[in-house]
C-alpha cells in the first residue's frame, strides 16, 4: 500500500502533467483551483484522473470544501 506521502506526490505529478503546469510549481498546501486555474468541468476531469489512477471511487461530495492537495490526498488515501 502507498504511503500518504507517495499518494500526495503522485497527485501533484498527475495534476501537473494533466494541466500542463511545471511540477516544481505545485506544493502540498497549494489551492489547486488557483494553482491549476481550473473551472468546475476541469475539476471533474481531475477527479476522474485521480479515480482512474488510484483505482478508487471518490464521491463528489467528499471533495466539497477541499481545495488543497494535501487534504485531497488524505481523502484518496482513506480509500486505498
Amino acid at each position: 500500500m502507498k504511503t500518504a506521502d507517495e499518494t500526495l506526490d503522485e497527485i501533484l505529478s498527475l495534476a501537473a502533467a494533466h494541466f500542463k503546469v511545471p511540477r516544481e510549481k505545485l506544493g502540498p498546501d497549494d489551492d489547486f483551483f488557483k494553482k491549476l486555474g481550473i473551472n468546475s468541468l476541469q475539476t471533474l476531469d481531475l477527479l476522474t484522473k485521480l479515480e482512474n489512477h488510484f483505482q478508487v471511487e471518490l464521491p463528489d461530495y467528499e471533495l466539497q470544501g477541499v481545495s488543497d492537495f494535501r487534504t485531497l490526498a488524505g481523502r484518496i488515501q482513506a480509500r486505498l
Binding site: 483551483f33 468546475s40 463528489d60 461530495y61 471533495l63
Partner: protein
C-alpha cells in the same frame, strides 16, 4: 445540405455550423454529432433541432442499420438541460405559463427520446466527459453506451428540488438494479466510466478520445446482421416504460411548481462553486 459519392457509399451530410447538431448517413450508419457550446445544453433551440432530426430519422432508418450519437465538444457528451434558459424563461413568465411551458417542453423531448429509444436501428451513445442530467438521459435512450474512460455520469437534479425529467429514472430502472438507481438519484453523485461499466450501464470503456472510433467499429459489426432479426431482438428485450415515463412528467411538473425550485435554479445560475451541481 449536400450529397456526394465516396466509393460505393452514399454520403448525406447536413452541417449547420451555427446549429446545435448535425447528422450524416455513411454506409448504413447515421451519426448525430452534438456541437453546441459549451457542452450541448438542451434548451428550446436544441429541442427544435432534435425534433428535426427525429423526423429525418424516420425516413433515413430504411437505409441504415445503426445510429451513433456523439459530441464534438471538448467538455463532454452533454451537460443536460439548459438551466440558465429554464431559469430566465420561468422568471419572465406568469407562474401558470411557466408551468405549461415546462410540461410542453418535457412532452416534446419525451417524444424524441422515445423515438430514439424505439427506432428499429441499433443505437449507440459514444460518450466522453460530462454526461449529466438530460445528457445522461439521452445516452440512456440508446441501446449501447460506449464510454471514454474520462466520462462521468450524474443525475444532479435533486439539488434543484427536481427529479430527472427526460425519462431518466424509468430508463435507468429498466437497465439497472434499483439500488444503483437510488444511489445515483438520491446522492446526486457522479460516477466514472469504470464504475458505470461495473454496474452494467456501459458496454465498453475505451481510452481517451476513442469512444467514437469504438462506436464506429461496433456499428460496422452490427451491419453484418439481418435487420429484421436485430430489430425484433431489440423490441423483445427493450420495452418502452410508457406508464412510468408519463408519471415522471407529472411528478416533475408537480415539483417544478414549488418555490424551492426557483431558488435552486437561481442558486445554480449564480453559483461560482467548483462543483455547482452539488447542493
Amino acid at each position: 445540405m449536400h450529397e456526394g459519392k465516396t466509393g460505393a457509399s452514399l454520403i448525406e451530410r447536413v452541417r449547420q455550423e451555427e446549429r446545435a447538431m448535425s447528422w450524416t448517413l455513411v454506409e448504413g450508419v447515421i451519426e448525430l454529432a452534438l456541437h453546441r457550446s459549451p457542452c450541448n445544453e438542451l434548451g428550446t433551440a436544441s429541442l427544435a433541432e432534435l425534433e428535426k432530426f427525429a423526423a429525418v430519422l424516420e425516413s433515413l432508418q430504411t437505409e441504415a442499420h445503426a445510429l451513433i450519437i456523439y459530441s464534438e465538444m471538448k467538455p463532454g457528451f452533454c451537460a443536460g438541460a439548459d438551466l440558465r434558459e429554464l431559469y430566465q424563461r420561468s422568471q419572465s413568465m406568469e407562474k401558470a405559463d411557466a408551468a405549461k411551458g415546462v410540461r410542453d417542453f418535457l412532452e416534446r423531448i419525451h417524444l424524441v427520446l422515445t423515438l430514439i429509444d424505439s427506432t428499429p436501428l441499433t443505437t449507440i451513445a459514444a460518450v466522453h466527459g460530462v454526461t449529466f442530467g438530460g445528457g445522461f438521459e439521452l445516452a440512456l435512450a440508446c441501446d449501447l453506451i460506449i464510454a471514454d474512460k474520462m466520462a462521468r455520469f450524474c443525475f444532479p437534479e435533486l439539488r434543484l428540488g427536481l427529479i430527472p425529467g427526460f425519462g431518466g429514472i424509468p430508463r435507468l430502472k429498466r437497465d439497472l438494479g434499483n439500488a444503483v438507481v437510488r444511489d445515483l438519484l438520491l446522492t446526486g453523485r457522479s460516477i466514472n466510466a469504470t464504475r458505470a461499466q461495473q454496474v452494467g450501464l456501459v458496454s465498453q470503456v475505451v481510452g481517451e478520445g476513442e469512444a467514437l472510433r469504438a462506436a464506429r467499429a461496433t456499428a460496422m459489426q452490427l451491419g453484418k446482421f439481418d435487420r429484421a432479426t436485430a430489430s425484433a431482438a431489440k423490441s423483445f428485450i427493450k420495452p418502452i416504460p410508457h406508464e412510468e415515463l408519463r408519471r415522471e412528467i407529472d411528478l416533475f411538473c408537480q415539483l417544478f411548481a414549488r418555490p424551492a425550485v426557483q431558488a435552486g435554479l437561481r442558486k445554480f445560475v449564480e453559483s461560482t462553486d467548483a462543483l455547482p451541481y452539488l447542493p
